[in-house]
Symmetry: C2
Subunit: 131 residues, 2 copies
Amino acid sequence: MKNSRQRELILEYAGKSGLHPSAEEIHEEVKKYGIALGTVYRNLGKMVSEGLIKKLEGISSSALYDMNPLPHYHMVCRQCGFITDIPESAGEGIIEKAISHIGAEIDSCNIVFHGLCKKCSAHNKKGGKIL
Amino acid sequence: MKNSRQRELILEYAGKSGLHPSAEEIHEEVKKYGIALGTVYRNLGKMVSEGLIKKLEGISSSALYDMNPLPHYHMVCRQCGFITDIPESAGEGIIEKAISHIGAEIDSCNIVFHGLCKKCSAHNKKGGKIL
DNA sequence: TAGATTATTGCATTCTTTTTTCAAATCCTT
DNA sequence: AAGGATTTGAAAAAAGAATGCAATAATCTA
C-alpha cells in the first residue's frame, strides 16, 4: 500500500481514541482538506483488508470503523448510542461453553453488549430517573 | 395487524426450519405469487416491530430474518455461510462477567459465533482435509 | 350481507450507503 | 527528474431498503 496524504488524514481522525466513526463521519472531518467520500471508503476498505483496522457491521445502519484491530467486544448504549470497548477477557470461556452446548467446531465470536454507558448512567442517577 | 395472503406466504417461506433468509431471498421464493419486493420489506418490518420475528444485522451485508423471536445466538459457518442456531444457555453468565469487568450497566448481548457447521465439518473429515 | 372503513398491495420512485469508473494527480524507485 | 504504478476527485452506478399513491382486499357495523 502506497502512502498518501489522504490516508494519513483519514487515519488521524478515525483513530481518535475511543471513536468508532462511520465513513460519513470521517468524511465530514476530512473533507475540509478536499478528500472525497469515495477516497474515504477506498482507504477504509484497504486498511480493513490489511488488518490495520476493523469494520463493525450491524451496530448502526452504516458500517463503523474501529481503529483497534486487537480482539475485543463492544457495548452500545441504549440511550445515546455511544460505543464502549469491552475487553476480550469479558468473554473468556464463551467459545468452550458454546462448543460443549452444540458440539460444533467454533473458533471465534463477536459479541455486542447493550446497556448504559457511564455517562448516561451517571446522568440518569443525577436526574433521579431510573430508566 | 390485518391478515393477508402475502404475509402468510412470506411467513411460510421465511419460516422454513433453520432458515435465516434475506428479504431478497424471500422475494425470490414468493414472487411467483405476484408479491412485490416492497411488500416483502413492509411485511418483514411490520413483523419485526411486533416482535413476531427478528432481524439479524451484522451477519451478512443485507439483513437476515429469523423466525424465532426467542433469545438465542447464531453461528456462521466460515466455509459455506450457513447459519446455525445456538441456544441461549451457551451464553450463560456472559452479562454478569462483562459487568464485573467494566462496571457498566449491561442488560443484554448479541453473540455471533464463527466456526464450521456440521455438514462442512463432516465433509472435510471425509475428504481428509483439515481446514 | 351491503356498505363503510381501514389496512395492505403493487408499482414506481426515492433514499441511503457503498462501490466503481476514469482521467488527472501523486507517490516511489531509480 | 523520469517513468511506471498507485491513488485521487468527481460523478455515476449499484445494492439494499423504505415510501407515496391509487387500487385492492380484509374487516367491521349495522
